[in-house]
Symmetry: C2
Subunit: 444 residues, 2 copies
């Protein structure tokens, strides 16, 4: 059996088809120099229609936005041909009613949310959808909160509501909540009448930097996460950073784990920014959060644009997820937050941090300074760095075999290789080293 | 509220991008002359790689194929850019193992079939998939037979099997059965791991001429048919006309109802051919069936190529379905076969025949000779021409309101207009006439 390996080039030159389009480009780099991000980003203030020229260097850009005085927002575009869409990022965007309304099709809207988020933001969203629009009717379905409800039975409640209220093909679904709500609402929108429009309003950091962007939707199966779903793109993603004010610390840290991932696998400069600004992120400095979200979305948007259906490059975004998902499944959905499991998965073995890093280091693919920096930043972010005791080597191996990244029986992993900010998605590694790492991190 | 109307032109000139490609083209016609189909069809014998030049006139073409002596097959291409695929039509194609194998990706195959079809053809299909392919493993899931099992609970059994047997992203799903199996297997393939390859092997006339072609997949909801699903195209459709030898008479008649539809809405010459050859179809003359399937698939392939997602033209294929679905839903799934309900729906009101025809006639859009011809051909085909007693006007109106063709609350119908072979998809009709037709066909 041939093993497959693909070195992922994190710095690619994107042809700028149209200079007036809001885009960003990364310049090339030589093999051993540190990754240099030189983004030509043009950010548009959606609310005030003024331009903000964001600098290439991260921190000054953040400060410039933070001190600009007026309430400003940024747009990151996901370039997918006729399925392209904007991600609006900013404070108070839920009060910019026009922003949401311009992406609503038809006269019927179904808001899908959960019991935690509904009391906080549902009225605000309904107001934003109906303000000055007497012909628009809004229905809502409030699901129980938590990963353990991300299943087909709960999804059916969305279909029940949509059908009982006689929504038609032109209607719009709105996902209001975290990653679970976004994934379920997105899949419901993909499958209802074989596809209706939908809008993402992510209210957790995790959803804002990861799951709301890129069109992956779905539900879990008792034997594995996200095994049933669709690639389905929203009309827009609206990120009101004010919603993070109500997010519990633990969920904030989960989101930060995803932010760290982008730095680690493809954006060394962003990783360095995080090392300096982790405290600001943890203390919810609005401008630090807005900057981290924007840069994360830019990284994700670029990857998704290049590889929507995950034939190669996009798989690198799963750094840590093979192990993370194995932990979540083995432990029972919802006991750990997604981000925590991912961080622990990293520590265990694979990806986001210590586990992937450990294995990469054991393979001789990275040097020990990266190992130390990863451990350090995860501890700063107060993310767990060891898996639960009940995760045995055997359990890991069994669960990983079901993982979607198994192709023709070959387990391909995302591992770090070379200077910080580089990774590979490969099945070409020494199986003994995988076992060594598993044994190093599991008690049994 | 503006009503919308769109006159559907059944005869369009398709640019022939590449004359060597297997295509067909329809020439234009003047307004009041009868529709003239002048197909430049090039049919390739898939099994023997010899060309058969099929004549424009229907009957001679049929005879030529039937008397050609050798076992021959025809290919109809569905042109959808990078999602294009062939429909193979012929006798004994399940014995042409290479034909099936060339469309299998990966090394794992899941055959989805039902308790009726499995004893007849499952072994044959497994043999076709594995002959000379020791590395290919085939799993199968055998679902209960019938429209009443076309639901999410039954669909989950397909996912269970796929996950338990650890199928990966490169696997291939094969739908072996009628329309219910094709729709469910297709939706399962669309949603499993967010999309895997699949192949359609339809074994009923209904599935061969309609549901297996065009990528509509899905399951029913207790409140309506096909409300949950996806547009998802197969790798190929393989129609072995020998499978019709085991089809019950009642199901054959259901398929013939769909064949009649193509003639009625867009191919007057095909309708005339049916008027002359209905007895041959009912007595299962192999060449008559093969010709009817091919010409039906050509009509459907053309419509689907022009309007994959049903923004307009494709909706005309739903002729009769709004009423048909209403009958099926009101009566309970599975009590009537799909085709029978469609035919009765026609009689009732809308589309395939008498109901659509009745309303079209009441509107003054067609003359009475069409009404007579439609009644006549349906009676020849032994299809029911009256709805069940329990279908009241009130029930019809309530069920139709849920129909997907309701857009912004406006019920658009497919109605005949002009000479035979012409129809419109429109919401611009006198509501009183709809009521008149309903009252004419319902006892209560």
């Amino acid at each position: 059996m041939a093993s497959s390996s693909s070195l992922v080039q994190p710095s690619v030159r994107l042809p700028s088809k149209n200079p007036s389009v809001r885009r960003f480009a990364l310049v090339g780099r030589t093999n051993h120099s540190p990754l240099r991000l030189n983004p030509i980003r043009i950010s548009v203030s959606a609310s005030h229609r003024t331009r903000l020229d964001v600098q290439a260097s991260s921190a000054p850009a953040m400060m410039e936005e933070a001190t600009s005085g007026s309430r400003s927002s940024t747009v990151v575009d996901v370039d997918l041909g006729n399925r392209s869409y904007p991600i609006y990022i900013g404070s108070g965007l839920l009060d910019e009613h026009d922003l949401l309304q311009r992406h609503v099709t038809g006269k019927q809207v179904l808001v899908v949310t959960n019991t935690t988020v509904a009391p906080l933001y549902l009225d605000k969203v309904i107001k934003a959808l109906t303000d000055g629009k007497p012909n628009v009717t809004v229905e809502s379905v409030i699901l129980p909160d938590g990963e353990k409800y991300k299943d087909m039975d709960t999804l059916m409640k969305v279909f029940d509501k949509a059908i009982e209220t006689r929504l038609d093909r032109k209607c719009t679904f709105v996902a209001l909540g975290g990653g679970v709500i976004g994934d379920m609402c997105g899949f419901a929108a993909a499958a209802f009448l074989r596809g209706v429009n939908f809008i993402q309003i992510p209210t957790t950091l995790m959803a804002q930097v990861d799951s709301s962007v890129g069109g992956k939707t779905g539900v879990n199966h008792p034997l594995g996460k996200n095994l049933i779903g669709a690639f389905y793109q929203p009309q827009c993603v609206l990120i009101d950073t004010d919603t993070l004010n109500t997010l519990p610390d633990r969920e904030l840290a989960s989101g930060i784990a995803e932010v760290v991932k982008y730095g680690l696998i493809r954006d060394a400069e962003f990783f360095e920014w995080q090392e300096k600004n982790m405290q600001a992120l943890l203390s919810r400095d609005p401008s630090a959060l807005a900057y981290a979200i924007k840069r994360s979305c830019e990284n994700k948007a670029e990857v998704v644009s290049l590889d929507e259906k995950e034939s190669g490059l996009r798989a690198t975004l799963n750094l840590g997820h093979t192990f993370g998902h194995a932990i979540e499944t083995g432990f029972g959905y919802g006991q750990w937050l997604h981000g925590e499991a991912v961080a622990a998965g990293t520590v265990l073995h694979l990806c986001l941090s210590v586990m992937a890093v450990d294995m990469s280091y054991r393979l001789g693919w990275i040097d020990d300074t990266i190992v130390k920096r990863v451990l350090n930043i995860l501890q700063k972010a107060k993310l767990p760095t060891t898996p639960p005791d009940m995760m045995t080597v055997e359990k890991f191996e069994s669960l990983m075999a079901v993982d979607k990244k198994v192709a023709d029986g070959l387990l391909r992993l995302i591992l770090l290789k070379g200077p910080l900010g580089n990774c590979v998605f490969t099945g070409d590694y020494d199986r003994k080293v995988l076992k060594e790492t598993l044994h190093a991190f599991c008690k049994f």
